[in-house]
C-alpha cells in the first residue's frame, strides 16, 4: 500500500509564477517530511524538510507547508525558474526509522 501519494504526475508552470507540488500521506505517526529534487540520470538531492511539530518551513524560493489534520504536504516554489524543471519526490519518515517516498511529480517551467 502506498504510504505517500503524489497525485499529479506532471505540472507545467510559466517562468516567474508559483509552482505548487502536493503530497498526501496516510499515517499520522510520521514525524518528518522531506522534498527531494531529481534531474535525469542523477540521484535525488535533498531540497527542504519540515518537522511534524511545525506547519511551515521556508528556504529562499522554497516553502514547505504541512497540514497535519488533512495529512497533506505541499511545496511552493516562488518564483519558478527554468532550472527548477525536474522530478520532485516527497518523502516521509516514521518512528521506525524508515523513509517512504512518493511517486514523484515532473515539473516543467516554461521560459
Amino acid at each position: 500500500d502506498q504510504q505517500v501519494k503524489q497525485n499529479s504526475p506532471s505540472l507545467s508552470v510559466q517562468e516567474g509564477r508559483i509552482s505548487i507540488l502536493n503530497c498526501d500521506y496516510t499515517n499520522s505517526m510520521f514525524d518528518y517530511f522531506l522534498w527531494y529534487k531529481k534531474y535525469p540520470a542523477e540521484g535525488p538531492t535533498f531540497l527542504i524538510s519540515i518537522s511534524s511539530i511545525k506547519d511551515k518551513n521556508e528556504d529562499g524560493r522554497f516553502t514547505v507547508f504541512l497540514n497535519k489534520s488533512a495529512k497533506h504536504l505541499s511545496l511552493h516554489i516562488v518564483p519558478s525558474q527554468p532550472g527548477d524543471s525536474a522530478v520532485y519526490f516527497c518523502a516521509v519518515h516514521n518512528t521506525g526509522n524508515q523513509f517512504y517516498f512518493g511517486t514523484g511529480t515532473s515539473l516543467t517551467v516554461i521560459p
Binding site: Y32, Y36, E42, G43, F46
Partner: protein, 114 residues
C-alpha cells in the same frame, strides 16, 4: 556533493543470471541503503546497513541480498535475476538515522533483465 559512486551505471543481462551492484562511499557514513525506482512506485527501500556486517530488510527485499564487509562498500546481489527486477537502483548514505538527517543518493544504476 556527497562522495557516492555506483557501479556499473548501466547493465543488461539475462534472466537467471547473478548480478551484483556496488555502492562505494568516501564519506565514512555509518548508514547505507539500496532503493529501486519504478514508474508508479517512487523509490522503495530494498535493504539497508547500519554498520559493517549489519544489515536489515526493507520494503521490497525478496530476491535480493546485500553485504557490507567494509564501511565504504555496500553490495546488492540479485542471485538469479528476473524481469521484474528491471529497474533503476539507487544507493543512499546517511550519517545517522535521525529523521532530520536527509539521505544522500548516488546517481543510480539502470538494470535491464531480458
Amino acid at each position: 556533493d556527497a562522495g557516492i559512486t555506483q557501479s556499473p551505471r548501466h547493465k543488461v543481462t539475462e534472466t537467471g543470471t547473478p548480478v551484483t551492484l556496488r555502492c562505494h562511499q568516501t564519506e565514512n557514513h555509518r548508514y547505507m541503503y539500496w532503493y529501486r525506482q519504478d514508474p508508479g512506485h517512487g523509490l522503495r527501500l530494498i535493504h539497508y546497513s547500519y554498520g559493517v556486517k549489519d544489515t536489515d530488510k526493507g520494503e521490497v527485499s525478496d530476491g535480493y541480498s546485500v553485504s557490507r564487509s567494509k564501511t565504504e562498500d555496500f553490495l546488492l546481489t540479485l542471485e538469479s535475476a528476473t524481469s521484474s527486477q528491471t529497474s533503476v537502483y539507487f544507493c543512499a548514505i546517511s550519517s545517522t538515522r535521525n529523521s532530520n538527517q536527509p539521505q544522500h543518493f548516488g546517481d543510480g544504476t539502470r538494470l535491464s533483465i531480458l
